[in-house]
């Protein structure tokens, strides 16, 4: 006769109950990290971001505005700040 506890039954039971929770926590952490990283990368855009945006605006100017029926008359009330 032994006083040794029955690890098999109790142990497996316990682990089986905690596993889905652990996976859920793990996935949530990963998701949260991904969201944070995405926000960081979108906020601190790459070094080419400004150049790409400028190129997009220039393309729009050349391909759309220059061909449209608009004027390019110098406006008043503005200042060049840098």
């Amino acid at each position: 006769m032994t006083t040794e506890s029955n690890h098999t039954t109790g142990g497996i039971k316990g682990v089986a109950q905690k596993k889905p929770l652990a996976i859920l926590v793990c996935l949530s952490s990963l998701l949260l990290t991904a969201v944070i990283m995405h926000n960081i990368f979108t906020y601190y855009r790459g070094p080419d971001y400004a150049g790409q945006r400028l190129q997009e605006r220039k393309n729009y100017y050349e391909k759309v505005l220059l061909k449209a029926d608009v004027s390019f008359h110098e406006a008043r009330f503005y200042e060049v700040i840098r």
């Binding site: 605006r57 449209a68 009330f77």
Partner: protein, 323 residues
């Protein structure tokens, strides 16, 4: 390099090739350019009563022009097809200032109205046309939301004879949430326009559930009376479902009448309801003897009894520009 536009309170900071929030002013290689100079997308001859301007040259026609663009984003805009449009997506005419003036003269108009969208955003076109119009003996009318900075307004004022300025509501939250702007600069512009000698009439579009709170309307009327005086005409205009507010019903006539009564109680002499056909509340009465001076049927003037700028009966001077 960044260019800061200082025409209106938004004060857009624009990188090269970037277009401002009004959609019509653009940073181009260190300069700010307007995309709509001499490019009106709407040209009409309207009765001056349509602006509405009730106290300047009644029964005359106003040559009315507008370009695309606006610096506000009102959810109820009646002209959103042009005010919220990009100029490159709009069909426009080529009509330089001198041609606007000669067309106005040839059609028997006594004034030129800068209207429909927001004329402040086509400032340069409006300014140069106004100068030529004055030289030709025409009056100028500015139909505006008043979202403009003081400096441009000061320069424009000597050329502008009359203005119908919107006072769309009387809370910051209304201007922010419904119009995409701010109340404070509008109040300052209205006050400045009056002090610079422009004949100002105010329009308040009463939108059910959004700005039809009668205590707030009373507060607004009190501000008008105390800041601008009793002779600034106020038009309470009826809302019809439009643009992004198609879910709301037209303003009940009772609300407009209640607003008008409040304005009269607060001591404003000339209060009208608008966008209501054949309504007796769009007539002008002498504030002294109460006699009917101008009876309006829609945009048509049926009775006109202002003589040399005064009441035909008691000779009280009626505020406005009559000749």
């Amino acid at each position: 390099m960044i260019v800061k536009c200082s025409l209106c309170p938004i004060e857009c900071r624009l990188e090269n090739y970037q277009i401002g929030s009004c959609r019509v002013r653009m940073h181009l290689d260190g300069k700010l350019v307007t995309l709509v100079y001499a490019k009106p997308c709407a040209v009409h001859v309207d009765p001056i009563e349509k602006k509405p301007i009730f106290h300047m040259l009644p029964k005359t026609a106003a040559f009315s022009i507008a370009t695309a663009g606006c610096n506000l984003t009102c959810k109820f805009c009646q002209n959103w097809e042009i005010s919220q449009a990009k100029p490159e997506k709009t069909r426009s005419y080529h009509l330089p200032p001198d041609e606007v003036v000669s067309m106005a003269l040839s059609r028997g108009c006594r004034s030129i109205a800068y209207t429909y969208s927001e004329p402040s955003v086509f400032y340069e076109y409006m300014y140069e046309t106004s100068a030529l119009a004055h030289r030709a003996g025409l009056k100028n009318i500015w139909v505006t939301a008043g979202y403009i900075n003081p400096e441009p307004l000061k320069e424009l004022a000597p050329l502008m004879d009359a203005a119908n300025m919107d006072l769309k509501g009387f809370t910051e939250s209304y201007y922010r949430d419904v119009c995409g702007g701010s109340l404070k600069p509008v109040l300052e512009a209205i006050e400045l326009a009056c002090s610079l000698g422009i004949w100002v009439e105010l329009t308040n579009l009463v939108v059910p559930t959004l700005n039809d709170d009668l205590p707030t309307i009373r507060k607004m009327c009190r501000w008008i009376r105390q800041t601008l005086g009793p002779d600034v005409p106020v038009h309470f205009s009826r809302f019809y479902p439009h643009y992004k507010l198609k879910n709301l019903p037209p303003t009940p006539l009772e609300t407009l009448v209640a607003a008008r009564n409040i304005a009269l109680e607060e001591g404003i002499n000339y209060v009208y309801t608008g966008n209501v056909p054949y309504d007796r509340n769009s007539d002008t009465f002498c504030p002294e003897c109460g006699r009917l001076l101008i009876q309006r049927l829609g945009y048509h003037v049926a009775v006109y009894r202002v003589e040399n700028g005064s009441c035909y009966n008691c000779r009280t001077e009626i505020a406005g520009i009559w000749t």
